[in-house]
Symmetry: C2
Subunit: 350 residues, 2 copies
């Protein structure tokens, strides 16, 4: 080791102890705010610590205490919107606890997932937050088998899980959005769903159906489109809906990304929102308020969900038990400018 490197090396507890003329044990007690140190000694050591700007070595602490101070967040892909909303809340919670957040995107690639899982298993995480609608290699189970705490955010494909999950009242969101459109006078309401094998998709759809049925409006299968939750799906399905013999007067998109796709199609076809077509989204991600025109959508409390999930995980890590394995925060309708009563007369195909 060269001299230069030696000089730049951070101090150890032993060095602090030596300088203060006390034992390492005593320094450790001061650092960890443990009792059993005289007031004067404590003050002297404290001063020394501050003077040198000493920080405990993380690795040694980790090795002894078995805590890495790290939380892993697993997401499908870095795409903004929904995931970022959740991350905001997670970050906020971790800021208080002092944990750092490791972010990992699976890109739905099994090999990548397995490699990450291996890297995680060396006890270098305190807990994992799963932000995946579904998984193929059973990440949650593998993690639990290793006694690594897990909390899943958003709806998962399994109706019940033996690990905690936090979601929102999706069904109610689907119901509320549809009911709102009905209240404006709409009778033909198109819905763009996600993949039907996801429970979260089915919940939206069930809410939609319930609202129609309560209003005595027959459900027209032609108005129900299956897609994925991407913008491109909104484009594709909006086109399909508009090309119908008897097109809808309102479109309820499965999420805000789809709604953005719907906007694009309406723009291209020169169909005015909301005069000629009403649109409702789902999620209420950051940009919805700024879409032209501002999108009426179902608000999911993303930040709160993230925060609560992180706090649940933290409690699990602390060895506490959770009151409930499943928490649902409430969705709500945010009325902005994308909906209006249907215009009289059929919409012309353009």
């Amino acid at each position: 080791m060269t001299l230069e490197q030696k000089q730049s090396k951070r101090l150890t507890m032993a060095q602090i102890a030596k300088e203060a003329g006390v034992s390492i044990t005593t320094v450790s007690k001061v650092l960890n705010q443990l009792p059993g140190v005289g007031a004067q000694t404590r003050a002297r050591i404290q001063a020394m610590i501050e003077q040198h700007d000493y920080v405990q070595n993380h690795a040694a602490r980790h090795l002894r205490k078995g805590q890495s101070g790290l939380i892993d967040l697993v997401i499908m892909r870095l795409e903004g919107g929904y995931d970022l909303g959740i991350m905001h809340g997670v970050q906020e919670a971790l800021e208080e606890s002092g944990h750092r957040l490791v972010v990992f995107a699976t890109h739905e690639d099994e090999a990548v997932e397995r490699r990450w899982l291996r890297r995680i298993q060396d006890q270098s995480t305190d807990g994992v937050l799963l932000l995946l609608p579904y998984e193929r290699i059973g990440i949650a189970e593998m993690l639990m088998a290793q006694n690594i705490p897990v909390v899943a955010i958003g709806d998962r494909n399994e109706p019940t899980t033996n690990y905690p999950t936090i979601g929102s009242t999706i069904w109610l969101g689907g119901y509320t959005a549809t009911e709102y459109l009905i209240s404006l006078g709409h009778r033909r309401i198109g819905i763009i769903a996600g993949p039907l094998h996801l429970t979260t998709t089915r919940a939206r759809l069930a809410g939609y159906r319930e609202a129609l049925e309560r209003a005595g409006i027959p459900v027209d299968p032609a108005l129900i489109c299956e897609g994925n939750y991407f913008l491109g799906d909104g484009i594709k399905q909006a086109n399909a809906l508009l090309d119908l013999e008897d097109p809808p007067t309102a479109i309820f998109a499965g999420n805000d990304a789809q709604a953005a796709g719907v906007y694009q199609v309406l723009y291209q076809r020169q169909v005015r929102i909301p005069d000629e077509m009403s649109v409702v989204g789902f999620d209420d991600v950051m940009y919805t308020a700024q879409m032209p025109p501002p999108l009426t959508t179902i608000h999911q409390p993303l930040a709160e969900m993230g925060k609560m999930a992180a706090n649940m995980l933290l409690r699990l890590i602390g060895g506490q038990t959770l009151e409930s394995n499943r928490v649902e925060l409430s969705t709500s309708l945010v009325i902005r400018d994308s909906c209006a009563p249907p215009r009289t007369g059929p919409l012309l195909n353009r």
Copy 2:
């Protein structure tokens, strides 16, 4: 410790060694693929490792080798677009190296930054990627003082730094965008800049000026707006430009978020893009291709920048030296559907 916990505990190298009837040293050599182990012994130990799905303890390794396997990425806020583009590239590079990515958003809060810095100083990071246009508390310097490798991404406010930075040819982007609009016949081109104290803003502006001057078009200060790089700034400045006595026929936005704001204003005022107004953005973030109409913009190779920054950092961590302290990747014009020749006759104020 209860029996249950005992059972779930992960194996140690010592246990593997005992089972295999060899020393810990030998197991370690096999695990780290070091020479000095007989082929048979190696095979036997290898089998044992696989059988037990043994993974080295991260904390112990970290303590001995002084490597955490962690890279920290510091960003201002989680907002998507630009930052996510960079993150994609970073993740890709780290996937190969095996490092995990810690993400931290400063929210431009000094207290938060200082707390993070402290947490970082305990040797629990291998290196830091800075994705901040500027910083108030001198993060880069503090990190360097602690011998923690740093690489900054995107342009920084300092013209020169004593740590590596990676950016793109912003000036050229400003020039190219303006030149393109001129080539379409535009003479009055509005530009929405970012904060003028940022070098990155001034580079765009200098490119804009250069293109105008080369074309013999006088620079009209009224057409130059200062804003911030958010969507709201695009809205505000687009309104200002449209309210001018002699409004521009094209608007060059400082980034794509601003361009989205411009779109919104044009939509509200029922000014058609590109027939009545041309718009150019900057960055080429994920959603630009999907804006209605698809936005013509200056492409920054965000993923490549992130990847290269990560690789530079990795090299620094490995003790290698870098060829250059400053790398600039090239920007390019991506022509989509938001520009057209100016319509004849003045644009009516609406």
